[in-house]
């Protein structure tokens, strides 16, 4: 599995294809410290007013902040609003 991903990445680099178009890699957009949009997530691990943990293909994303709310929750996209303090990538392959 790991080899396939690496091969795919190598092919993409060789063909100069932008990495953000790579299949189901997670994509994180942070707008100032007010909102975070995460594409290609694989579910909510923990949701609290101060912490949101999301599972992705490559590892876990942890968003810390104050008054966090899930403005939109869809199958492959989630929008978190609130006062964002920290965004961490945990146990990434």
């Amino acid at each position: 599995m790991k080899k396939e991903m690496k091969l795919g990445e190598q092919v993409a680099r060789f063909l100069e294809i932008p990495l953000d178009t790579m299949g189901d890699w997670p994509k994180v957009e942070i707008n100032a410290n007010r909102s975070v949009t995460i594409h290609n997530h694989r579910g909510v691990i923990e949701y609290d007013q101060n912490i949101v943990r999301l599972n992705t293909k490559l590892g876990e994303i942890k968003i810390s902040g104050v008054n966090l709310a899930l403005v939109t929750a869809m199958k492959d996209e989630i929008v978190i609003e609130g006062k964002i303090v920290r965004a961490e990538l945990l146990d990434w392959r």
């Binding site: 579910g43 923990e46 403005v71 939109t72 929750a73 869809m74």
Partner: protein, 399 residues
Amino acid sequence: MSVLNWERIISYFTGYVEILIRGAQAEKIINLATSSGLYLWGVRRIAPEIVYAKIRIFGYLRMREMVKISGCRVKIHHKHGWPFLYHKIISRKMFLIGAVLAGVLVVYISSFVLLVKIDGFEGKNHDRLIRSLRNAGLKAGISRHDLLLRKRLIEQEMMLSHPEAVWIGISVRGVVAEVKVVPRKTAPVSSRPCDIVARHDGVISKVVAIRGVPVVQEGDTVAQGELLISGKRWRSVPESDDFIEESITAGGVVEARVWYDIEVIEPKVIWVAQPQKGRAVRYRLRIGDRLWNVAQFGKRPTGTYFWERSFKRIYQGRNPFEGVELIKDTFQKVVYRKVKRTPTEIRQSALAEAAARQKRLKNITVTHQTKSWTDEGRFVKLNLTLETVQDIGMASPHR
């Protein structure tokens, strides 16, 4: 419009509910819902084991299985959207019927003429016209459709029955029928005995006496007020061979050559206003009796300035005083300077002034004219003499 806003609009029309998810594994139910394609929004944790969220009606119905799997409890907090509103309206039948009836009533009432307004006649003529219009069928309560069908007929009928009006027109604006009348302007017919006297000085060129005795003939020079056709005549009485004086209303045409003098004095040096730096424009809005400042550009100049005001009528109400208008005031700083005019300019200005004064002499046809220029030091004088042929007869009571 972004995708999210579209989603919210679609949610309004499909209907959505605010739900409260109670339980330790609220995340599990969120994951189950999103992974099965349901759309959740506004997710907030409002207490340690309570999560608030919004979901569409169909999504809520599909959540039953997920509730069993996750072990959470889900409760509807509030309902939103068109299906719920529709249901609410349908269940309040009397309210719906009342609203529809009110709408129908307004439409029905607006199909009638509720007010008849007459513009142009006053006093007795006004009252008489109202009565005639009522007899012809135009009164408050007539349907607009009927009136529009018979409008032309009523107009013609009114013009025949009211010779004191030159023109009568009916227009329908909303629920108001406006009757516009143009009254006839006629000169009062003199029925009392009178003479014909001269209105102006002149030399008689034609005398046609219709009634009365002419006392002047062609070539005579007459002064203003002089008798032209006498309204007194002597009649013989066959029984006694006496003559008796009889007073009649004299009438006829007495044409004469008449001269008019126009004198124009033009200065050689004049003061001319020259615009300077310093201009202000102020806009104000008037609605009825109230006036508001809208904007002002520039500072109003001090000292000598020109002030120009223009009006722009935005809405013309039924009452002319109740209109809405934009008032623009322009203040332009000026300085007056002495300017010496050229002879051509002086002549042009004098001729223009003379032409303007000639226009004020109504109903004359100029047959001949002479001009003379005189230099009087600081001024130039123009004497314009106009010769015309006109009827100088004027009715005057017996002396």
